[in-house]
């Protein structure tokens, strides 16, 4: 028994040392994207867009996502990518700061690091690919609420949990926008947190409706929250009395846009975001851009882009203005994502 073990073990080790080098041929450069967690259709579409963009340019794409939306899990994945000597890492961060040490390690090994959607500390990234101008998002949503409320009334925000940077940035911009004189008749009564959990978002929405019976509009800049709110408003027959808008997935919101509970909402195409990320990554690796303000590059079917200054001190690339979904176009988009 013991002898057999030893022999088998020795043979295996010998094989291991001899074989691998010959088995692998030369490979294309690899570009990796790491999303926040798995099982998220928005993330899947982003990664799909990234993959299309990378393969369009003749390289290989690696798509990774951890099963829990934590920073530790992403650190492990990044370590594995470093070992695979990828050309670039596109990170959708679960945490602004926690990934800095491992990303710096990647940079030290020559890998180009940039973030997408949910940014990481500007010191650890070359640039950030942002879906849309955060300020514009805030402005657009407030304007929508204003129009839906008929110029005055109470509004509330149903958020997720700010595990990643975007939610609070948008809410801050919304509050700033509300402070402007033209919105003086619009009152923000509460910011509720649904934690991106379906049942919690439902409870929070019901809570809002109970506590503020004169509520006119709910703004939910999170895909889970807006869908949950849509369901609650539909079930309670509040269409027309309480309006809903925010950022939502067309597939999730199709029902509520068609039945009128949500007159219109916004998002951007995550496929395009990923696609833009792909071109940004290649441009960084080939040296076309360095991630500094003013750098220009071409992003395939999306056209030309220029890098601009980001609110957190780093730089960013903006995809474009948010896209409006309403009754007229929801049918086309609900099957896409």
């Amino acid at each position: 028994m013991k002898k057999t073990f030893t022999v088998v073990a020795l043979v295996l080790i010998a094989l291991a040392l001899v074989m691998p080098a010959s088995v692998f041929a030369a490979e294309k450069a690899k570009y990796a994207i790491v999303f926040k967690n798995t099982g998220n259709p928005y993330g899947e579409k982003q990664m799909e867009g990234f993959k299309n963009g990378i393969e369009e340019q003749g390289f290989e794409a690696i798509l990774r996502a951890p099963d829990l939306p934590t920073a530790e899990a992403q650190i492990q994945i990044i370590e594995q990518l470093i070992a695979q000597k990828v050309a670039a890492i596109c990170i959708v961060g679960n945490d602004y700061d926690a990934l800095v040490p491992v990303l710096k390690k990647a940079t030290a090994q020559g890998i180009k690091v940039f973030s997408l959607d949910s940014s990481v500390n500007s010191q650890a990234r070359l640039t950030h690919v942002n879906q849309a101008d955060s300020e514009k998002i805030g402005q657009t949503l407030i304007k929508a609420a204003y129009d839906m409320a008929g110029g005055k009334g109470e509004i509330a925000i149903l958020s997720a949990t700010s595990q990643a940077s975007n939610q609070n940035i948008w809410i801050d911009f919304m509050k700033k926008e509300l402070a402007k004189p033209e919105y003086k008749n619009l009152k923000l009564v509460k910011v509720a947190y649904g934690d991106d959990l379906r049942d919690k978002s439902v409870s929070e929405t019901e809570g809002l409706l109970r506590s503020y019976p004169n509520l006119k509009v709910i703004i939910a800049p999170t895909t889970v929250g807006i869908a949950a709110a849509g369901k609650v408003l539909t079930d309670k027959g509040l269409k027309g009395k309480v309006m809903l808008t925010g950022l939502g997935l067309p597939s999730e919101m199709a029902e509520y846009i068609e039945n009128g509970v949500c007159p219109y909402m916004f998002l951007w195409n995550p496929i395009d975001v990923g696609y833009l990320g792909a071109y940004t990554g290649v441009a960084l690796v080939t040296g076309k851009i360095k991630g500094a303000v003013g750098d220009k590059f071409s992003a395939g079917r999306l056209g030309n882009y220029t890098i601009t200054k980001a609110p957190d001190g780093g730089t960013e690339v903006l995809l474009g203005p948010p896209f409006k979904f309403d009754k007229s176009n929801i049918n086309d988009w609900k099957k896409v994502y």
């Binding site: 295996l12 080790i13 291991a16 530790e72 700061d97």
Partner: protein, 354 residues
């Protein structure tokens, strides 16, 4: 659970045979490495073997006390939450002005206190199983972390703090050195000291120990305190690796730690085991994860694999346990009341009829 007619097993294998499970693990480990190197050309480098452990060694600090816990016949699912709370409090206190070294000491104090609370609850409310107690404290500890830090993160530690998780002494990672030292201490503690022997004894037959005058309460308390302390170590290294912390760190750690321990051959019926098994399985699972990750295997598949591994390892152990412990009665079922599940006293994990 399986009964023993005598705790002195006259047929216990001697010599190399008693390391059967460890040998099996070592072979498995080699096989994993071979497969990994086939799967990816990036695997077989010195760097892999030296720096990859830095990724999972923080968890490994928890495997050491978990070995003791399971030998004792208990289980502890609150370890991840203790890590989270400790990490959060350390960060918050540092940012509030406490000097970093003191904050680190505070971290260890807090984690040990959490362990103390766990132990205290277990000895005061002996009817309750460790499972349910640690399930509750798990929620409470992490809940406190959320109350303190909500959805923010805290960090901005001094730059020397990252040396803990990222630093090398010569060519060897610092965390590896600390871990090896800790493992040696644990091995000595568990296998040579009186305390260690008593842990085995209590795990084997708690009631008999109590009637024999062994202070079972102190043992349980001691093990819980040690667990808390090690959770503090984990917290230090984990926080150092990330440079910042949130209330949701160390989520899911308990599953990984329990899996590593159980895979290491520590039987969940308690009372037996050796530290060597878990030590090997730490690296086994760590490198397995890493190798699969190098092939970019998706997280879903990894989940399934880990779940299977856990169940499989317990299954195999239960199978290899049985022949040696068959009672001389003719039915395979337990014919005599188990000495562990006395009526009225609570079920720890053996009292469990399943």
């Amino acid at each position: 659970m399986t009964e023993k007619t005598s705790t002195i097993d006259v047929n216990k294998p001697r010599g190399l045979r008693q390391y059967q499970w460890e040998i099996f693990l070592v072979v498995l480990f080699l096989a994993v490495n071979v497969v990994n190197s086939f799967l990816s050309p990036y695997y077989l480098t010195l760097d892999t073997f030296v720096s990859t452990p830095m990724n999972f060694l923080d968890k490994a600090f928890l495997v050491l006390p978990m070995t003791m816990i399971i030998i004792l016949g208990n289980i502890d699912v609150s370890v991840g939450s203790i890590v989270a709370l400790t990490s959060v409090l350390m960060a918050v206190s540092y940012n509030a002005g406490l000097p970093m070294p003191l904050a680190m000491v505070l971290a260890l104090v807090i984690s040990t206190t959490c362990g103390l609370i766990n132990g205290f609850l277990q000895i005061k409310f002996r009817e309750l199983s460790a499972t349910i107690i640690t399930l509750s404290t798990m929620t409470v500890y992490r809940g406190i972390a959320y109350v303190i830090l909500e959805d923010r993160s805290a960090g901005r530690f001094p730059s020397w703090f990252s040396f803990l998780a990222w630093g090398y002494i010569g060519k060897v990672p610092f965390i590896l050195i600390v871990f090896v030292l800790a493992a040696i201490v644990f091995a000595i503690l568990l296998h040579t000291t009186r305390f260690g022997r008593m842990v085995f004894a209590v795990g084997n037959n708690k009631t008999a120990c109590e009637y024999s005058g062994i202070r079972t309460r102190r043992i349980i308390l001691g093990v819980s305190v040690i667990t808390g302390l090690m959770a503090g170590f984990t917290s230090l290294f984990l926080t150092s690796r990330m440079g910042s912390t949130r209330p949701n760190v160390a989520l899911g750690y308990e599953l990984d730690v329990i899996a590593m321990t159980v895979l290491g051959g520590i039987s969940t019926s308690g009372g037996k085991g050796r530290i060597t098994g878990p030590l090997i399985s730490i690296f086994l699972i760590g490198f397995l994860n890493y190798g699969l990750g190098l092939r970019n295997v998706s997280a879903q598949v990894l989940l399934i694999i880990l779940g299977f591994l856990l169940i499989l390892s317990v299954l195999v152990q239960n199978f290899t346990d049985r022949p040696r412990q068959k009672a001389p009665s003719k039915s395979g079922k337990s014919a005599a009341p188990t000495h562990r599940s006395d009526a009225g006293s609570g079920s720890d994990i053996h009292g469990n009829s399943a």
